[in-house]
């Protein structure tokens, strides 16, 4: 019922910290990761009201450098790389020729011809292999850096204050990045995150991760696990690859048309332009369950559609989620019935995000 094998799972450089803190460790994308420390709800609310720290060292990194770095990434990534300045961060999807989503990624531009792209743990090897295959006709070095970085996310309304007290200079604004020393450890700091709160993400040498973790926790950040990370991101309708994104669906139906600039000619752009022009048959939309009950990924929507993510929202204290819905039933305000393991539950399609400050 609750057993899990811990063999063959990778451990982050902070494994001992998690174990000492009494975290519940679960397998996730081949890694043994903390799903919670004290409780998902408590950790979630700490991030919404104060500051939380997440170990996201399972996420991968791919470094791209060389004269053709920008042209190469533009060939692969859906966003307009010309709009990514040095010291900037940009979100995009990477697609196959059919416009199916291979991954959603943040790319940081470290220097003119030097980029670092963050992959999802479960996709990293496939992403890297795809990038290497596509790199043949470009003058670039594409380097797997997964093993070279620990990654921490410090998120919440107090996160920047807390981190800036430990840092040797100003923190990057949102969607920017820079090199900084934090607790005397050099690292890349990005003004990015996955919670809907302000905050930073840190990428640093794995060996130094425990001392940085300790410094940030000592400064008041609450350790938060993947459980809270999931409820936080779903409240603000951020996508989770494997749930809300997959190779069998495209970015337009996923609501990610805003980060697709088809005129740049990236792989999959023709297919995506076609869907954009014709209009998708279904759209990913958030919903809130009206009464009791919690829909989960895979629950069918009666009459067509499927829940891609579902959980209990600690902020709204309701079942929430996102579902792929036929476009006619996708407008906000539409009532849908979700088959939750045999029980129909009424939900209302809402606008993104489900949670806003001051709700």
């Amino acid at each position: 019922m609750f057993s899990s094998s811990e063999t063959d799972l990778r451990r982050t450089p902070l494994h001992a910290r998690h174990a000492a803190a009494g975290a519940r460790l679960v397998p996730f994308a081949g890694w043994l990761m903390p799903v919670q420390y004290t409780g998902i709800r408590e950790e979630h609310l700490a991030v919404r009201t104060g500051a939380g720290i997440f170990d996201v060292s399972h996420m991968g990194q791919v470094e791209t450098r060389g004269p053709d770095a920008q042209a190469f990434l533009q060939h692969l990534l859906s966003n307009d790389l010309r709009r990514l300045p040095e010291g900037g961060a940009q979100y995009s999807v990477m697609c196959n020729e059919d416009g199916g989503v291979l991954d959603d990624l943040f790319t940081y531009r470290l220097a003119e011809c030097h980029y670092l792209t963050v992959t999802n743990a479960g996709n990293h090897e496939r992403d890297f292999a795809w990038m290497i295959t596509q790199a043949e006709s470009f003058d670039v070095d594409v380097i797997d850096r997964l093993a070279d970085f620990a990654m921490l996310a410090v998120q919440g309304p107090l996160a920047r204050d807390l981190v800036s007290r430990l840092t040797d200079g100003a923190l990057p604004r949102r969607m920017r990045c820079c090199q900084r020393d934090l607790a005397r450890v050099p690292m890349l700091v990005g003004g990015t995150g996955y919670t809907g709160e302000d905050g930073v993400e840190l990428m640093l040498e794995p060996e130094r991760a425990p001392e940085v973790w300790d410094a940030i926790v000592a400064a008041g950040a609450v350790p938060a696990g993947l459980g809270a990370r999931d409820t936080l991101r779903l409240e603000v309708c951020f996508h989770l690859y494997g749930n809300d994104l997959s190779e069998s669906r495209g970015p337009i139906e996923a609501g990610l048309g805003w980060c697709c600039k088809e005129q740049t000619g990236f792989i999959g752009s023709e297919a995506i332009a076609g869907v954009r022009a014709a209009g998708p048959e279904e759209r990913l939309e958030p919903f809130v369950i009206e009464g009791p009950g919690i829909a989960r990924a895979g629950n069918p929507v009666i009459g067509g559609g499927e829940v891609s993510s579902g959980t209990f929202s600690p902020s709204l204290e309701r079942g929430i989620g996102m579902a792929y819905l036929p476009v006619l039933r996708a407008p906000p305000g539409t009532r849908i019935e979700i088959d939750v393991r045999g029980t129909p539950r009424t939900a209302v399609v809402e606008k993104k995000p489900l949670y806003r400050k001051g709700n």
Partner: protein
């Protein structure tokens, strides 16, 4: 409740349920281990009064933020009372799994079924 506990006056089912048998009726709930593994319970689907439940089969569900779990009947019988307070405060299952966090009371179909359940020591041995 933070510390694991398994009261001696209860009988235990391998699917992490407990029964407090009193003559031909019994109270059911989930064990400390089950609530801890599940995490904070946020939803309890109250089963219907009068429903017949069957030993070793699911009679309702409890849900935490992350997961849903079937609740297995440790014994067979008819539901004669449901803990309706859990509708508003399902977290009581975490806070007091053997007391206020009880789930249902049952009129037992066959009290001798209880012989197949474990005592606290035997159940705890299965968790080691």
């Amino acid at each position: 409740m933070a510390e694991a506990s398994y009261p001696d006056d209860l009988l235990y089912h391998s699917e992490h349920d407990w029964a407090r048998v009193d003559g031909d009726t019994a109270t059911f709930g989930i064990t400390w281990y089950a609530q801890d593994a599940l995490g904070e319970v946020v939803f309890f689907e109250a089963p219907k009064l009068g429903a017949q439940i069957v030993k070793d089969e699911s009679y309702t569900e409890v849900e935490s933020v992350k997961a849903v779990s079937d609740v297995i009947a440790p014994l067979s019988g008819e539901i004669i009372e449901v803990n309706t307070a859990l509708g508003d405060q399902p977290e009581t299952i975490n806070e007091d799994p053997y007391g206020e966090g009880w789930l249902i009371k049952v009129k037992l179909a066959d009290p001798s079924e209880a012989e197949s359940l474990m005592d606290a020591a035997a159940y705890q041995a299965t968790l080691a």
